[in-house]
Amino acid sequence: MTSENADSYLEVDNLVKYFGDDKAVDGISFGIPKGAFLTLLGPSGCGKTTTLMSIAGLHTIDGGRIRVGETIFTSPKEGLFLPPEKRDIGMVFQSYAIWPHMTVAQNVAYPLEIREWERPDIDDRVAEVLKLVGLTDWADSLATNLSGGQQQRASLARAIVSNPSLLLFDEPLSNLDLKLREQMRVELKRIQNEVGITSIYVTHDQSEALVMSDEIIVMSKGKIEQRGGPVEIYSSPVNEYVSNFIGIANLMKAKVVEVSEPGIGKVEVAQDGQTVQLPCRLTPGIAAGEDAVLSVRPENVHAVDESGEGTLTGECTHAIFLGSYVDCRVRWGDFEWKVISHPRNHPRTGDKVHLRFDAEHTLAVQP
C-alpha cells in the first residue's frame, strides 16, 4: 500500500493515527501534484480532520510518512517530526481563529513578522493580500468587529500572506450561513487559483467538495473509499457508501445476472413478486452472480407513458412542485423511488407510473 506517485508534490504514505485505542486514520495513502486542490470529504469522525492535522503537524502520527517536496514532515519510523512552525504551511481554521487582540492588518502581518521581513515589505505585502481578499477598508479594525464572512477572508489572507508551500482548510465555511457559504466557495476557489498554492480542503459538505475541488477523496472510518474528480465521484461512485454520501441516489439491493463486456451488464431487482432486469454499468471487480447495489440518481429515472422491457410499474405516492422540477416518489413494492420530473409533464399523486432507467447512468456498485 505505498503511494503510486513518487513525483507527487505532497505525499501521504500509509498514515496511521490512534486516539487511545481507536484508529482514527487507518493506513491511508495519497499524493497530489503541485498546485492542485484536493478535498477530503466525509462525515464527522471519518478521519479527514485528523489527516489534515497530521499534515499540519498539530497531531503527531503513529505510523506512516508525510512528505512535501523534498522535505519529510514526519515519519515516526525514522524518528522524524518537523514542528508545525517549520513546515511552511498556511491554514484556515473552522473558527477562523482571528486573534481578537490584534487588528486585521496585524493578524495578516504576523506570519511575515515571524519570518523577520522588513517593515516596509510587510506593509506592502499585507496591503496586497488584503486587496486580494477584499478587506482593504478593514485593515485597521479589530478582528472582533468583523462579520463571519470577513473574518474568513482575513483568515485566508493570513494563511496565504507568506506564500506557503501548502494551504490547509479545515471546514472553513461551515460556520457561515447558506448564502454566504455559496458566495465564499467561488471566492475561495478564485483566490486559490490566483495564488496557485497546493491546497487540501476538509469538509463534510459534498456540494462544497464538488464545486471547488480538482480531486476529491471520500473517506469513512479512517479509510479512503474512493478518489477521483468531482464528475467521476458523482457519476461513477464505486460503492454504496460513496453513492449515498454524494448527492441523492436510489439505492437498491440487486444481483448481477450478466456481464456482457467489461463494465457493462445487467442486474436483476425484485420486489413484491415483480422481477425486472435492467441494463447497467458495472463497477470493476463485480462478477456475474454476485450481490451488488443498484445506484441511480433521481434525475436519471424517468416516468414514461408506456411499459416495456426494462421498465417497472409503481404508484406515485406524492409529487412536490419545487419550481424548476417536481420531486416525485413512486412506490414499487416496499421500495420508494425518488424521481425528478419536468414540471410541464409529471405524474400526479395516485397515478400508476412506469419507470425507465438510463442504462448509461444506472450503476451496479459494491455493497
Binding site: V16, E85, H101
Partner: protein
C-alpha cells in the same frame, strides 16, 4: 474493509530519535513544571504523614515509630474537646453562612429588592477581608465589659450587664458565618442569575405561591451550588485559625487549629503530635472536598439552561423593603460596624469601652507603621514590608506557575497532564495550617527555614490552584485554534505563548494575580506556623499585638491591613468584575 492483519500497526522508532523528538521547548518546560509542582505539593504532605508516626519520648529528646500520637489525640485532656469544638463551630458557621449566602444571593439575583446592584459589591467585601480582623473587631464590639455595643446598650437603654457576649463558641460561629457567607453567595448567584425564569413561571401557573415556588423549584435547582458552597464553608471554617484564637481559645474553647498551633510553636511544641492532628483534620477536609469535586460540582451546570435568558425578577411587593433592610443589616454587621469599631478603638491610647474625645490620638498608627521611629514595634512594621514582598512576589510566581499548568492541562496531551490536574486540586483539600505543618516538618532543617522563602513556598503551594482556575476558565473559553494558527504561521511554541496566548489571557491573569495578592496580604494560618522573628507578616503582626500589646495598637495595624485590602478589592472589581470570582 481491510482485515485487521493487513492494517499497519504502531511503528517504533529508534530510541535516540524518539528521545530527541521528545526534547522540545514545550515538553522540557512542562516537564520541569510538573516535577516542581509534584515536589511542592506532595513532599510536605508525605513528610507530614510519615512524621505523624514519630512519637516523641517524655523527655523530648528522641523519637520512636508508632501510633502513639494518634492514641494521645484521644486520651489527651484537651484535644478530644478541641475536636468536638471544631465540629460544632464548622457546622454552626456552615448553617449561618449558607442561610445568609443563599438568601442574599436570592434577593440580589431573583427579586426586585431596591438597589440590589449597588449592594452586591458590599455583600462580597467580607470575602476579601480577614476573618481574624473581623474577630478582633467583634471582640471590641461584643466583649461584655468593654464592648462598644454593650456600652451603647447600657448608656442608651439602661440595660444591666451585657447585651451580647461574643467571647465564646457562639461568637466564633457568628463571625465565621458572616465572613464566609459570600463564599456560598458566589457559588449560587451565578446559577440563580442564569436560571430560566420560565421554570419559576410555570410553577406559579400551577397555583404555587411565591414561597412554595422558591422552596420547591428555585432552591432545588441551585442545590448543587448550595451544597458546594456549604462544603467549602465547612472545610474553610475547620481550618480557620484566627477567629477561634481570638474569640474562644482564651476563654476555654480550644479548636483543632489552635491546638495544632500550640504544638507547632511555644514551650510544649511537639511537631509530631501536631502532624498527627493535622493529618486528622486533613483527612476530614480532603474527604469533603473530594465529595464536592467528584459528585456535586459536576452537577451544578445541569441546572442552568442556556436559552431563554430574560432578566425577569420576582416582585416582592412591600416585602422588598424588608429584603432591602435585611441586606443593609448584613453589610452593617459584616463590614461597617467592624471597620467603624476598629477606627474608634485605634484612635485611643487605651481602650476602656467608651469613646473619650479628649484622648483621641494617632500614636497607635505611629508605633505600628512608622518603622524609622525608635518606638516602632518591629513585629508590626516588619509585617507590612514582609507581607507586601510576599504578596507581590508570591502572586507573580504563582500566576506564572498557574499559567504554565493551565496551559499544560488544556493545550497539551501527555502523561503529565492528568497528574497536574490532580495536583491542582489537592492543595484545596488541605487547610493552610495543615499544609504549613507539612512544610514545617519538611524544611525545618534546611536553610530556607526562618526565611521569607519558606512562607512564599507554602503560600504558593496552597493557593496557586485559585490562580490556575482563573486562567483555566478563560483558556477553556478561547479556541485552541487561536494558538494553532500561530504555529501554522511559523511561530514557535514560546513565541505563540508570548504573542498570542498570554495577551488573550491577560484579564484572567490580572484577576488571578489580584485575588492571590489579596489572599497573601491577609494570610494568617500558614504564616502563624512558619514565621520566626524577622519574618512576621501583617496578620502575624496583628497576632503579636493582640497577644502581647493592647487592643488599640492591634486595631491600628488591623486598619492598616484593611485599607490595603480595600484598595486591592477596588482594583479587583475595577479590572476583573464579578464573573472572575465565580469561576
Amino acid at each position: 474493509m481491510t482485515t485487521e492483519t493487513l492494517s499497519p500497526t504502531r511503528e517504533r522508532s529508534p530510541l535516540n530519535n524518539r528521545l530527541r523528538a521528545m526534547v522540545t521547548q514545550e515538553n522540557l518546560i512542562t516537564f520541569v513544571v510538573a516535577i516542581i509542582v509534584a515536589g511542592a505539593v506532595i513532599v510536605p504532605l508525605a513528610v507530614l504523614f510519615v512524621s505523624s508516626f514519630k512519637v516523641l519520648d517524655p523527655l523530648g529528646w528522641d523519637t520512636t515509630w508508632g501510633f502513639g500520637n494518634y492514641v494521645e489525640m484521644f486520651t489527651d485532656r484537651i484535644i478530644p474537646k478541641a475536636f468536638l469544638n471544631t465540629l460544632i463551630i464548622s457546622s454552626g458557621s456552615t448553617v449561618l453562612a449558607t442561610f445568609l449566602g443563599v438568601s442574599l444571593a436570592w434577593i440580589n439575583a431573583r427579586t426586585n429588592c431596591p438597589g440590589r446592584d449597588y449592594l452586591e459589591p458590599y455583600n462580597l467585601i467580607p470575602f476579601f477581608l480577614s476573618p481574624f480582623i473581623g474577630a478582633i473587631a467583634w471582640h471590641n464590639l461584643g466583649e461584655p465589659q468593654t464592648g462598644l455595643l454593650n456600652n451603647w446598650a447600657r448608656d442608651i437603654f439602661g440595660i444591666e450587664g451585657a447585651l451580647i457576649n461574643v467571647d465564646n463558641i457562639w461568637g466564633v460561629i457568628w463571625v465565621t458565618g458572616i465572613f464566609f457567607a459570600p463564599l456560598v453567595y458566589l457559588f449560587v448567584v451565578g446559577s440563580l442569575r442564569r436560571m430560566d425564569p420560565s421554570l419559576e413561571d410555570s410553577a406559579r401557573t400551577t397555583g404555587a405561591g411565591l414561597v412554595r415556588t422558591t422552596m420547591t423549584v428555585t432552591l432545588p435547582l441551585v442545590m448543587p451550588g448550595i451544597l458546594s458552597g456549604a462544603i467549602i464553608v465547612f472545610v474553610t471554617s475547620a481550618g480557620e485559625f484566627g477567629v477561634p484564637f481570638k474569640l474562644s481559645a482564651p476563654y476555654g474553647w480550644e479548636t483543632l487549629t489552635t491546638q495544632i498551633f500550640s504544638k507547632a510553636v511555644g514551650d510544649d511544641a511537639n511537631h509530631f503530635l501536631g502532624a498527627a492532628m493535622s493529618m486528622a483534620l486533613g483527612i476530614i477536609t480532603v474527604f469533603l472536598i473530594w465529595v464536592q469535586q467528584r459528585y456535586i460540582a459536576p452537577r451544578s451546570f445541569t441546572t442552568v439552561t442556556g436559552k431563554g435568558f430574560r432578566p425577569n425578577v420576582l416582585d416582592l411587593g412591600p416585602w422588598k423593603w424588608v429584603a432591602f433592610a435585611y441586606n443593609l443589616m448584613f453589610i452593617a454587621v459584616a463590614v461597617v460596624l467592624p471597620i467603624v469599631c476598629l477606627i474608634i478603638v485605634s484612635l485611643h491610647p487605651v481602650w476602656t469601652g467608651k469613646i473619650v474625645w479628649a484622648d483621641i490620638t494617632t500614636i497607635n498608627y505611629v508605633k505600628t507603621l512608622f518603622w524609622w521611629r525608635p518606638d516602632a514595634i518591629a513585629a508590626a512594621t516588619n509585617g507590612i514590608v514582609n507581607s507586601l514582598i510576599l504578596a507581590f512576589g508570591g502572586a507573580s510566581i504563582a500566576m506564572v506557575m498557574a499559567l504554565v499548568i493551565s496551559y499544560m492541562i488544556h493545550r497539551t496531551k501527555g502523561f503529565g497532564v492528568r497528574m497536574l490536574d490532580f495536583l491542582s486540586v489537592v492543595p484545596i483539600g488541605f487547610p493552610g495550617i495543615v499544609l504549613a505543618m507539612g512544610v514545617l516538618v519538611t524544611y525545618i532543617q534546611t536553610p530556607i527555614y526562618a526565611t521569607l522563602w519558606i512562607l512564599m513556598l507554602a503560600y504558593i503551594t496552597r493557593f496557586f490552584p485559585y490562580g490556575q482556575r482563573n486562567i483555566s476558565s478563560i483558556m477553556l473559553a478561547i479556541s485552541e485554534e487561536l494558538d494553532q494558527s500561530s504555529r501554522m504561521a511559523g511561530a514557535s511554541w514560546f513565541t505563540t505563548l508570548r504573542r498570542i496566548t498570554i495577551p488573550l489571557l491577560k484579564p484572567g491573569l490580572f484577576a488571578g494575580w489580584i485575588l492571590l495578592f489579596i489572599i497573601f496580604l491577609r494570610e494568617l494560618s500558614i504564616s502563624i506556623i512558619l514565621f520566626t522573628t524577622g519574618t512576621e507578616t501583617l496578620s502575624v503582626g496583628v497576632y503579636y499585638l493582640t497577644n502581647f500589646e493592647n487592643e488599640p495598637l492591634t486595631a491600628a495595624l488591623s486598619m492598616a491591613q484593611t485599607v490595603l485590602l480595600l484598595i486591592a478589592i477596588y482594583a479587583f472589581r475595577r479590572f476583573a468584575g464579578r464573573e472572575a470570582l465565580t469561576a
